[in-house]
């Protein structure tokens, strides 16, 4: 009889007797009683080896009083989960893209950053995307010329590619059709394509799309692009000399922010831009006279585009010079005081509603504090969350949203910024800064998208050699009534 001690986990079992005539399995059975570990799960270590069930005790050479060590648990054996885990690396490329939370960049094909940044900014408008996908269904209408059609299709394809891809997309096809439609973009300089003005690209592209996306019925209302971006202005033209006064309306796709010495803020620039002087023949005076033109906004777009008029033709140097002046712009823009009287009246009620909601959010109780207002608030929140989706559905309704439950408030949120860096319009670098649905800002520097902080976006206001805003786009804030 041998007596050994066995160490198992932190416990030591002293004085276990071994009968050398019986196989080790018997010993293991003894240990089973003590530890509850089934013999087949027991691993007993003796001097650098494991004790086999059929081993001979004498061959192992266990001495009296020796310490043995046992390993083993009665634990459940680990099993692989029934549902295999899917790893991001195994996903197809498209799905990886969605995990990233934003779309890919665009390859610079040689001074095409003006185009890339324009495309990225416009792509951030979901309504435009869905309008384009509808275009495929409606097909080409007769009054759209071939090149416009091709450009529209190319835009649609490019938007699609961007959504599917993880890596930067090369917009070759789009660029070709763009140049075909607008030969001015094919200008060469030293054998290279020249840098172009992004604003021109923006305007031309939007114009083309507005032409081709017009519903076949060709009524004014069905112009999708116009519904999204169009601003109706009512102007009062007044001649001081003769006292003549006339009024006219026009529709534009963007407001201009004129930059003069007094302008420090976007709001001042816009006001400035809505006032103008022009010379025209006065029927009363029978000669050309100076007219003052004052415009007011008559209808609001879903997306308000503002162009900073940073470039002007400098005659003495014969080039487009840039105004570096710092013009601040807010993340939240209120253009109430630029609106016409009628529009203001319409906006009044929704704005009051919005104020109440915000007050509530800040913990201020509106005067009529009652339970149902709480309910309303939650409703409002829910609907405002949906607004992104619902607005795509109701996009045909356009700016005149009185029909729906959503109402314009005259308050806009910044969604994208197209910046220019450099000293003249035909040189330098264009970059797009786009707010994602997740609320994050992405800088699209050609093929390199990168995350940015919101406070850095407002720093693009100029005044130095850093990127400065050239075209900015605001999205309307709605309130449900």
């Amino acid at each position: 009889m041998l007596t050994v001690s066995v160490k198992w986990q932190k416990k030591v079992f002293e004085g276990i007797e071994i009968d050398p005539t019986l196989p080790p399995y018997v010993f293991k059975a003894q240990l089973y009683d003590l530890t509850g570990v089934p013999p087949e799960r027991q691993k007993i270590m003796v001097k650098g080896g494991l004790l086999k069930d059929d081993a001979d005790w004498s061959a192992i050479g266990v001495k009296d009083g020796q310490k043995l060590m046992m390993m083993g648990t009665a634990d459940e054996i680990v099993k692989a989960p029934e549902k295999a885990i899917v790893f991001a690396e195994d996903l197809p490329e498209e799905e990886q893209a969605t995990h990233l939370g934003y779309s890919a960049g665009l390859v610079n094909l040689g001074n095409t950053c003006y185009m890339n940044s324009t495309v990225q900014c416009l792509k951030s408008v979901p309504e435009l995307k869905s309008a384009l996908s509808n275009y495929a269904l409606t097909g080409r209408s007769n009054d759209v010329d071939q090149t416009s059609h091709m450009l529209t299709v190319a835009t649609r394809e490019l938007f699609g590619d961007l959504d599917r891809s993880v890596n930067a997309v090369s917009p070759t096809q789009f660029w070709m059709t763009l140049r075909k439609k607008f030969p001015q973009f094919s200008q060469l300089q030293n054998g290279m394509h020249m840098q172009q003005d992004a604003e021109e690209c923006w305007t031309q592209l939007l114009y083309t799309l507005s032409q081709s996306l017009k519903a076949p019925t060709s009524s004014e209302d069905s112009d999708a692009v116009k519904a999204l971006f169009g601003v109706n202005l009512r102007s009062r033209v007044h001649c001081q000399e003769s006292g003549e006064e006339s009024s006219e309306t026009e529709s534009v796709y963007s407001l201009k922010c004129h930059i003069s010495h007094e302008v420090n803020h976007l709001h001042e620039g816009l006001k400035h831009g809505l006032k103008g002087e022009l010379e025209k023949t006065s029927p009363a005076l029978g000669r050309t006279a100076l007219y003052l033109k004052e415009s007011l906004i008559d209808s609001l777009p879903r997306y308000l585009t503002v162009q900073f008029v940073r470039f002007f033709w400098k005659r003495e140097t014969n080039q487009k010079a840039k105004i570096l002046r710092k013009v601040d712009y807010p993340l939240e823009l209120d253009i109430f005081d630029l609106c016409s009287e009628e529009l203001r009246k319409k906006l009044e009620a929704p704005r009051q509603k919005l104020r109440d909601e915000e007050g509530k959010k800040l913990g201020l109780q509106p005067k009529s504090s009652s339970k149902d207002s709480d309910v309303k608030m939650t409703d409002a929140e829910a609907s405002s969350k949906e607004s992104g989706e619902s607005s795509t559905v109701t996009q045909q309704e356009g700016g005149s949203s009185e029909k729906g439950t959503l109402h314009m408030t005259g308050i806009y949120d910044l969604v994208s910024v197209l910046t220019h860096k450099g000293r003249s319009a035909d040189s330098g670098h264009y970059v797009a800064w786009v707010k994602q649905e997740s609320g994050k800002w992405i800088q699209y520097d050609d093929s390199h998208p990168s995350l940015q902080r919101e406070e850095d976006i407002t720093k693009l206001s100029g005044g130095g050699d850093w990127h400065m805003a050239y075209i900015i786009m605001y999205k309307a804030r709605f309130v449900s009534m």
Binding site: K10, R41, G48, M69, I77, V78, A80, I85, E89, L100
Partner: protein, 892 residues
């Protein structure tokens, strides 16, 4: 000088004329007049007296001569005591030096001649021309009287001349006996007068340090040995060994056993270690020795000769075997209150990166989960609990299983093995946790469990050899991942043990024609670890054959580099003689691997020696501009760091040289530079190196960036350094799109917070004197793997990161009482000050703070007890320290 009106003047004018000729001044008269005006009455008197003596010395009358010499001696001795300026008597005697010399030459042999020689010897101190060694010459012909009576400066000068003379005589093979007598005298004088450093210098110059043993005494042996050990770092081999030998003997002589043991370990002389044990009779002190040996990480078997009592021996062996390490570490953790397990998210601190980090993707990324596995393992290393792997699997949704399966294929190996890291050093609990994975039917998981067993047992020895028992069966399994798991586990668990049983089972794999390359590579590496620094020829042979058998294509594989590395580890720190034969053989290898092998052998053999010549050799290699894709420059750069890392000056120099290499080197050299910097400053975040690495982490070459990022982790390993943590956080947002770089950033983050800041990776310990060979082996292996990051760490062999476990040690000082129970005492912790060669009892730390033990020690810090109540049994306050109550202590 000028003959002033001297009433006592005797002797003829001719001599006097001769004396005046010696005056270099052109217009002696005028100048002297002026000078005499300046002299005070007293000085004038002295001068006149001396001149009188000079003249009398030349008197034929021996009585008069003798009286004059005696008086002259008196004057000189009276004034040589202070040496701030040339003493007056010497100054006044200057002009007569020639006269006296001349006279001495013509004198007949006599006591008087010797007396004069003595005086001339002293005068030569200021007069003798460079290289003439006149002082020594006259001394040797002099009366051999007490050397110290002439003052310090004289002795010092004499010592210098002896050194010169010695070299000359060595060249001529002339006798040096007379010199040695003088040396005896000088050494005795220096040792008595607190000039140990000068005595040692002299003895080193005349290559007879043994003399020192006779002259050291209780008051000066400590300073002497201090000087010897720090001088050894700058001596070429084998002189350094001799010097340390002497230091060892002195320590033994004065029963300063802990220091003696330290040197014995440095010399890697087990005979000496044994002697320490046999010479010391106090059991408690022996326990302290055992703690020191266990920290060094070598395998050491106590025999009855060292400790007679069986029970005592077993207890001491337990300490050597590190079985109490886990307990001590947890005591520290509890005291510092960091037991709470941390998740990788706690380390990433993504919330500090305002909005930049992408919101958690809905699908798991295998790469990122793998990184999290490593971070979790490193951060919770040794704590026995974490929030991913050890969480009790309560129900069917056992989260432990869950996390394991959130890793993909080979990732599961690392995940299972991470359990070993979390339960590091706690063998019993570790095996319990790992047991269930042995029964899995998924090969990567089994491989991970095997590796985990190896990791748990790292540095811990056990009589039952659980690692060998469990892993032994798996090394010949079919699946190569399982084999690698078992082989690597053995390598880690038995590093430095020179276990024959393992060798006999691993060696055949090396020469097995059917074995896949990766298995062979890991087998070579494990053998290298197990036989680290042993120069074992049989292992070397097996690896050499394995290298020769490799086909051209296999030699191009990334993993092949582990074969030369395994070979190199065998000679770690053993210098030229031992590695010569193997280096010769390596010249016959295929040219693809030859140079790589050469560099690896060279750098390993001289690792930690600080050999300047080898540093230059390696620098020359780095400077070459190669056309082809040669890979040997990587190990050359790493070698630079390995050789130079041993002492501070060489280290700083190496850092500066690496800056140059970075500037002018080729791309493949630049890639290795961050790693070399990482090795030089491992767990020691120097700000300059940090800045360099931070700059490189944004390098356009992604491989440079990757190694810089990993190195940032290495230099900050276990420090929780806030600055590095911030840098890495920013890097994580900078590289959030690049999965490979992000992986490196995560690993580095894990390293910085390794063991929640309680661990260090530094292979140096005991006040930076000792270099743990296994620790260095672990780090070097990882760095070699990092030379080809893409195929190894970013490929499927990421578990090589676990080799770092070999270097992981708590950076603590834990005081225990005589029963080895932790006790808390106040200690001062501050920046260590180099006190070698300083007079008196200088402060050894500066800018200290008082804590109570256990405390953490950062790189370059030293602790000292702030109470007299206890006496530490080792003067080096690191790791486990046994305290004995001070019998003389009185409560105030």
């Amino acid at each position: 000088m000028a003959p002033g009106p001297d009433p006592n003047s005797v002797g003829d004018g001719a001599k006097r004329d001769e004396a005046t000729i010696k005056v270099p001044s052109k217009d002696p008269k005028k100048k002297d007049d002026k000078k005499e005006e300046d002299l005070s009455e007293e000085d004038l008197q002295l001068k006149q007296n001396l001149e009188l003596y000079v003249e009398r010395v030349q008197d034929p009358n021996p009585e008069l001569q003798k009286a004059a010499l005696e008086s002259m001696r008196q004057e000189i001795r009276a004034s040589t005591s202070s040496m701030t300026s040339v003493p007056k008597p010497l100054k006044f005697l200057r002009p007569h030096y020639g006269t006296l010399k001349e006279f001495h030459k013509n004198m007949a042999e006599s006591d008087l001649k010797k007396l004069l020689a003595d005086i001339l010897s002293v005068l030569a101190l200021t007069m003798s021309a460079e290289g003439q060694r006149e002082s020594l010459g006259y001394r040797l012909t002099g009366s051999e009287g007490d050397i110290g009576s002439w003052g310090h400066e004289y002795v010092r000068n004499l010592a210098g001349e002896i050194a010169e003379e010695y070299t000359v005589r060595q060249g001529e093979e002339a006798s040096i006996e007379d010199l040695m007598d003088l040396v005896q005298q000088i050494v005795a004088f220096h040792m008595k007068h607190n000039a140990e450093t000068e005595a040692v210098d002299l003895l080193m110059d005349v290559e007879d340090l043994d003399l020192l043993l006779e002259h050291v005494d209780r008051t000066n042996f400590r300073r002497t040995c201090n000087y010897l050990t720090s001088a050894a770092k700058y001596l070429p081999g084998p002189d350094d060994m001799l010097v340390l030998d002497i230091a060892y003997m002195i320590y033994i002589k004065f029963e300063e056993y802990p220091n003696a043991l330290q040197i014995a370990l440095f010399l890697d002389n087990m005979q000496y270690v044994k002697q320490v044990f046999t010479s010391c009779t106090d059991l408690l002190r022996k326990k302290q020795f055992c703690y020191m040996i266990s920290r060094h990480g070598i395998t050491f078997e106590l025999d009855p000769e060292m400790v007679e009592n069986d029970v005592d021996r077993e207890m001491l062996q337990d300490i050597v075997n590190n079985t109490k390490l886990s307990e001590g570490y947890l005591t520290l953790a509890r005291d510092i209150e960091v037991m709470e397990a941390k998740t990788p998210e706690d380390i990433y601190k993504a919330h500090l990166l305002d909005g930049r980090a992408s919101s958690g993707p809905s699908a798991d990324s295998a790469r990122q989960n793998l990184a999290a596995t490593f971070v979790n393992a490193f951060v919770n290393a040794g704590f026995g609990q974490d929030k991913l792997m050890t969480v009790p699997s309560d129900s069917t949704s056992g989260s432990a299983g869950n996390w394991l399966f959130k890793n993909k294929e080979h990732g599961k190996t690392s995940a299972a093995a991470s359990l070993g890291m979390i339960l590091l050093w706690d063998v019993d609990a570790g095996l319990t946790h790992l047991d269930k994975y042995f029964h899995s039917n998924d090969n990567p998981i089994i491989a991970g469990a095997l590796l985990g067993v190896g990791i748990v047992n790292c540095g811990i020895k056990n009589d039952c050899d659980p690692a060998l028992a469990l892993l032994g069966e798996y090394i010949d399994k079919e699946d190569s991942s399982v084999r690698i798991g078992a082989i690597m586990g053995l390598g880690i668990a038995y590093a430095g043990s020179q276990n024959d049983q393992i060798r006999s089972s691993l060696s055949p794999i090396l020469n097995d024609a059917k074995a896949p390359l990766d298995v062979i590579a890991f087998a070579a590496l494990s053998l290298g670890m197990i036989y680290v620094g042993s120069c074992n020829e049989e292992v070397a042979q097996s690896i050499i054959f394995a290298l020769m058998d490799r086909s051209e294509a296999e030699l191009g594989e990334a993993l092949t580099r582990f074969l030369p590395l395994g070979l190199g580890l065998l000679y770690l720190g053993k210098q030229q003689e031992s590695v010569e034969a193997t280096a010769e053989v390596s010249k016959t290898f295929n040219e693809k691997i030859r140079k790589y092998c050469d560099m690896t052998l060279l750098s390993c053999a001289y690792a930690g020696t600080g050999n300047v010549l080898k540093v230059q050799d390696l620098l020359a290699q780095c400077g070459e501009h190669l056309e082809k894709g040669d890979i040997h420059q990587g190990p050359a750069v790493l070698g630079l760091a390995m050789v130079a890392m041993s002492e501070e000056l060489g280290l700083d120099m190496a850092i500066r040289s690496l800056e140059r290499v970075l500037q002018y080197g080729e791309q493949n050299v630049r890639r290795a530079v961050p790693l070399a910097l990482g090795l030089l400053c491992i767990s020691n975040p120097k700000v300059t190196v940090m800045d360099t690495l931070s700059r490189l982490s944004h390098d356009t070459d992604s491989e440079v960036a990757m190694s810089a990022i990993v190195s940032l982790g290495l230099i900050g390993a276990g420090t929780n350094n806030a600055r590095i943590a911030g840098m890495l956080r920013n890097l994580s947002s900078y590289y959030y799109k690049d999965a490979s770089l992000l992986f490196c950033v995560r690993i580095a983050q894990g390293l910085v917070h390794m063991g929640k800041g309680l661990l260090t990776l530094s292979p140096f310990h005991s006040e930076r004197l000792l270099l743990s060979p296994t620790a260095l082996a672990g780090i070097v292996t990882l760095l070699h793997a990092c030379l080809d990051m893409k195929s190894i760490i970013l490929g499927k062999y990421h578990y090589v990161l676990y080799f770092l476990v070999l270097a992981m040690q708590p950076r603590m000082m834990l005081t225990v009482d005589e029963n080895l129970k932790p006790i808390s005492v106040p200690v001062r912790v501050g920046q260590a000050v180099d006190v070698v060669g300083q007079a008196g009892r200088p402060k050894t730390i500066t800018g200290f703070q008082t804590h109570s033990t256990p405390v953490l020690l950062a790189a370059g810090e030293r602790a000292e007890l702030a109470t007299d109540k206890y006496i530490p049994l080792s003067p080096i306050l690191e790791g486990f320290i046994i305290l004995k109550e001070n019998p003389d202590y009185r409560e105030e």
